[in-house]
């Protein structure tokens, strides 16, 4: 997963609105009770923005690591043996469970399972027998990226 423009806008919106709700009433000299209510709501907004920001940062670090594997990894292939739908969706994208025959030159063949969140169109095309490129981490061949 990665944050997109909508996500950055949402993080900024909730963060700034939350901060304004925490600080604004105090600076404007609003009554204590109203300030407290607004500040409590604002704090929740700030926490939501901070959580989303943390997740975006984590996703970016993971993407950077996957990019490193792609650039430096051992290119092989992965043939789909079984496709399962976990019936879980993330932002309307299905979480697919794939059983793969992974074939990495110099490492060998192995059967692995992999969960991937995919757009609906791509998930519909995953089928047993389909062979996709894969890149294995040269430092840990059990770690790989699947090119779908």
């Amino acid at each position: 997963m990665q944050v997109n423009r909508t996500g950055i806008w949402l993080i900024g919106f909730f963060g700034l609105l939350g901060l304004a709700m925490c600080v604004g009433p105090v600076l404007a000299g609003a009554p204590a009770e109203a300030s407290l209510i607004l500040a409590s709501t604002g704090a929740i907004f700030v926490l939501v923005a901070a959580g989303l920001g943390w997740y975006a940062r984590h996703a970016r670090a993971k993407a950077a690591h996957q990019d490193w594997i792609f650039r430096n990894g051992i290119k092989g292939s992965a043939t789909i043996l079984e496709v399962g739908n976990s019936h879980t969706t993330v932002n309307e994208m299905p979480l697919m469970k794939l059983k793969l025959a992974l074939d990495i030159p110099g490492v060998g063949r192995s059967e692995v399972t992999r969960r991937e969140v995919m757009p609906v169109f791509t998930a519909n095309r995953m089928d047993a027998g389909l062979t996709l490129p894969a890149y294995a981490n040269p430092e840990d061949p059990a770690e790989f990226i699947l090119v779908w």
Binding site: M1, T6, A56, Q66, V90, T122, L132, P133, V147, W148
Partner: protein, 200 residues
């Protein structure tokens, strides 16, 4: 209705001229993003047979409605062996309306723009999987193919390669037999070029 009659007439004339099998309608399945948009992933009318010198496939009329009705003429061909080298490659005319799913703040790492050819960037938006082999892309988009795509196909030509299926498309409502011929030739040219690159 008159437009639809003209479309059926154009397809009948084109099928007769090229010796294709005319079909009133054909369900193609959810093979590419554009086909997914169509009701029941169907083209109507359609014709099946030889699209280019070495390429067989289907040519058909595709319509879908999202706020308004969008009409395309499409040509579909199989490109065997391409999935292992390029699972997805979308070359879409710049400015064409496509589904924008940015309703959510987070999305799957789905695609990456390929921007190495200025000549193609002026006319197309090209995207692939984020982990598409760039060397293979450079070999596929040889100067000859870049020159061809920049100058030869119909003005609104786009193509989608997805898991071994290539779908060429133009946006005109009624392209006539000449427009259908140009669509088929462009799609067949791209299919044959991709197949050759996969073969190497």
């Amino acid at each position: 209705m008159a437009d639809l009659d003209a479309t059926f007439a154009a397809f009948a004339a084109f099928a007769a001229e090229r010796g294709l099998e005319p079909l009133p309608a054909l369900g193609l399945g959810a093979l590419t993003p554009l086909l997914v948009e169509s009701k029941h992933c169907q083209v109507a009318p359609a014709a099946r047979g030889r699209l280019g010198s070495e390429t067989d496939g289907v040519v058909g009329h595709l319509a879908y409605t999202r706020n308004k009705t969008f009409r395309f003429n499409v040509a579909l061909a199989e490109v065997h062996g391409s999935t292992a080298l390029a699972p997805r490659l979308f070359c879409v005319r710049s400015g064409r309306s496509t589904r924008d799913d940015e309703f959510y703040g987070f999305e799957a790492r789905y695609s990456k723009l390929w921007t190495e050819s200025t000549a193609l960037n002026q006319r197309y938006t090209i995207s692939t999987s984020p982990y598409q082999d760039p060397n293979w892309m450079r070999q596929l988009f040889s100067p000859a193919l870049v020159d061809y795509l920049a100058t030869e196909p119909p003005a609104d030509f786009s193509f989608e390669l997805a898991y071994g299926i290539l779908l060429g498309s133009v946006e005109s409502d009624d392209p006539g037999a000449d427009g259908l011929a140009a669509l088929c030739e462009a799609t067949a040219h791209v299919a044959e070029r991709i197949a050759r690159e996969c073969g190497e």
